[in-house]
């Protein structure tokens, strides 16, 4: 069975759908009237990007890209937490 052959058309097809969603998220990032809107959209963007990265690593057949997906999702979370902390306390560190 030749997975490479199947993936060579499947991954671009799926990626194009993800790209469409990606554009819609970017619309929200640009338009987003308030800070939480922007952050939420950027969250979704980074999760999307994580899926992208995983799909690319399938497409190119290299195992080296996937670890980036994990880090992207973690960074998105950190971003959320820091923005919330900033909103709540107007302060990032501290007790």
């Amino acid at each position: 069975m030749n997975t490479a052959h199947i993936l060579s058309w499947f991954v671009p097809a799926v990626t194009s759908i993800f790209l469409a969603a990606f554009t819609l998220y970017i619309v929200r990032v640009v338009r987003g009237p308030t800070l939480p809107d922007i952050v939420l959209a950027i969250d979704c963007l980074s999760y999307d990007l994580a899926v992208f990265v995983a799909l690319m690593s399938l497409y190119y057949g290299t195992p080296f890209l996937v670890i980036g997906a994990l880090l992207l999702s973690l960074w998105a979370f950190i971003f959320d937490v820091f923005v919330s902390k900033y909103l709540v306390r107007k302060d990032l560190g501290g007790g």
Partner: protein
């Protein structure tokens, strides 16, 4: 007027540079399918198990360049980070020997949901970062990547709880500084130890006219990657602890400003 002149300067300068780059270096598409001879030599030889004269014992060419072919750059890059953190501490912290015992957080931090998630993610981050650092000689990653991944963990704790929580978890200024120095000295030890056997500074594998036999690349079936494994781990320790020190110094800087800030 001033602003316009700055814009003109920046645009003209950068446009000129790009023009030169595009015209001069990449005028023909044929050059683009090739890489420079130096890079190609390294790619071919980095894990050339058939003729080990030029090999670095790592299939990861970037790590091989970083820690073996151009290892000195990386040592001093670590020194740059070290000096910068020393500068940060100079600006922000009073005494290393003062115990970082903080007060208990009373209603501090964010909601209990975030705290619970932080606990789970903390372990996940630790495992990931050690994995990234230790597999740096086989897969992309390495000491710096692992160390900066590790830095997410205290950041998360600072955000979800407080800096005091980080201190109470054992990342005291003192212990972080000790671990950083230990990592740096381990780095120096790995780099300098070939000298004992008439080898070269930073030597990894066997070289002609050197008495040092090189760090073992294989231990039976297990692939060790020569000195890259130890260097990566030491770098991981150093970079992770440098980040922790920066966060702590930033926290104590707040207090310093409260104490003597003026103006």
């Amino acid at each position: 007027m001033r602003k316009a002149s700055y814009i003109a300067l920046a645009v003209v300068g950068c446009a000129a540079l790009t023009l030169v780059a595009v015209l001069g270096t990449f005028a023909s598409p044929n050059t683009l399918s090739r890489v420079r001879a130096l890079g190609e030599f390294i790619l071919y030889n980095t894990f050339n198990v058939f003729s080990k004269r030029w090999w670095a014992g790592s299939p990861e060419a970037v790590t091989a360049v970083l820690w073996d072919y151009r290892g000195l750059d990386t040592i001093f890059e670590t020194t740059v980070l070290y000096a910068a953190v020393a500068g940060c501490v100079v600006l922000g912290y009073t005494s290393l020997l003062k115990r970082g015992r903080g007060r208990d957080e009373a209603g501090g931090g964010l909601t209990v949901v975030v705290k619970a998630a932080t606990k789970i993610l903390f372990a996940l981050i630790l495992i990931t970062s050690v994995n990234v650092a230790l597999h740096g000689y086989i897969t992309p990653g390495g000491g710096f990547a692992g160390g900066s991944t590790f830095a997410i963990a205290p950041l998360l704790v600072i955000a979800a709880y407080s800096t005091e929580k980080v201190v109470r978890m054992g990342f005291r200024f003192l212990s972080s500084a000790v671990m950083r120095s230990a990592g740096l000295l381990a780095l120096a030890l790995v780099v300098l130890s070939p000298l004992i056997y008439y080898g070269f500074v930073l030597q990894n594998q066997l070289k002609p006219n050197s008495g040092f036999p090189g760090y073992p690349a294989f231990l039976g079936p297990l692939f060790l990657g020569g000195s890259l494994l130890y260097l990566n781990f030491a770098e991981f320790l150093v970079v992770g602890m440098e980040f922790v020190l920066v966060f702590l110094a930033f926290h104590f800087m707040d207090k310093l400003m409260g104490g003597e800030g003026s103006g």
